[in-house]
């Protein structure tokens, strides 16, 4: 409930920002995994291979991964992406508009949004042991319909 409100808040703010960064409404019908990351965050490095695998394996079932980069300096993000290639969408938000609206409290933080556009869960941090539970949550949402 609280999380849904947060999402609504982020949508209205997005509209004010031109909605250019992330248009979640257009992704209705898909399961969206929004991940906030930064080049300087150590666990973020560990999350990238897993997100690549998720996009490869579950993309056909309707999973969309959107990684929101919050680096102030764009070249830091590019450097990171050269070392850790991403096979999913990356949105650049150097001014921290999206994490502010989503209420991100640490790096990384991810939000799992169901096909109806509701935020179903928030996950703070990323550890190797988080991979299986997160994968399971995504699968459950993908097959909820």
């Amino acid at each position: 409930m609280l999380l849904s409100l947060l999402l609504l808040a982020s949508r209205s703010a997005l509209a004010a920002n031109g909605g250019q960064l992330l248009d979640l409404a257009a992704l209705k019908g898909q399961v969206v995994y929004v991940d906030f990351w930064a080049s300087w965050c150590a666990p973020c490095r560990e999350s990238f291979p897993w997100m690549n695998r998720m996009q490869d394996e579950l993309g056909r079932d309707g999973l969309v991964i959107i990684a929101v980069n919050v680096d102030h300096d764009h070249s830091d993000a590019e450097h990171f992406l050269r070392e850790h290639p991403a096979r999913f969408r990356v949105v650049f938000d150097p001014d921290g508009v999206l994490p502010g609206q989503f209420g991100v409290r640490g790096m990384p933080t991810s939000f799992l949004i169901d096909r109806d556009g509701r935020v179903q869960s928030r996950h703070a941090g990323f550890r190797l042991t988080d991979r299986d539970p997160l994968t399971q949550q995504i699968r459950v949402l993908l097959h909820a319909h």
Binding site: Q20, E57, G59, R60, V64, L81, A86, R87, R89, V90
Partner: protein, 311 residues
Amino acid sequence: MRPARAAVDAAWRPPHAPEFEVLAREDGIIAVYFTAMASPCELLLEATDVHAAGQLGSAAAQEAWRIETKFSRYRPESIVSVINRSQGSAVAVDLETAALIDYAARCHSLSQGRFDITSGVLRRCWKFDGSDRVPNPDAVAALLPLIGFEKVLWQAPLITLPAGMEIDFGGIGKEYAVDRVLALVAEQFAGAVLVNFGGDLATNRAPAAGPWQVGVERPDTEGQARLLLELRRGGLATSGDTHRFLLRDGVRYSHILDVRTGWPVPAVPRSVTVAAGSCVEAGILATFAMLQGSAAESFLIEQGVQHWCLR
């Protein structure tokens, strides 16, 4: 003339579309058949060990399927789909994808904008199914703002596509797969290898018995009269509209579209086959020739390449 000991039929169709099949032929060639990229694929090896050939064939098929999975616009999980769904945000791509985009960018500039990987959106209007359903000119014009590689922001490893635009690697992908598979097999196998993906092919060298004999289907007769070519080294690719055209009021509308107008290039040859150093190079030359329309032949002569142009 030598007997066609190592004959390749570019128009070959598997008898019952097996997923993967190894066949030791009488001419001393072991053939591996599989299907990838909606095309019948064959791998010909100048070899005697069927088991080893089968393993090479399996590696070849795996590689073809990997490339197909990664770059097919029809697969939602492919990098192309990820890019096409990105709605104006940047996508970071891996080195292999970056190399393909670099290549497409280079071809776009060399063709003065005629070759364009963003032209695929025109398929929304144009369905080349042999019918007479020519689209409404307004509908075609409405798509033009979504076309133009110059509108794409490409700064490796980030590609940013304006919302609504799409890319695809049609005209590059299959040829690329042929060269990749050839390189992969030739790395592990010393003998002559020929890779043939639905008529686009490449070989490392001719078998000891003589050059590969390649039969190219003639578009108008469909499998009846064939052009027989000899291939020793390099790639061979064909661009044609045998099955992909519209016919209305006696006008044949080719599937080769001019990105500047959204309409078919007039007077394109039925088929252009080019031999070059690699399948990728042959393929792009054939495509460039088709884009020239009536000037295809003079274009090919100017390039100084071996070619066969059928009208």
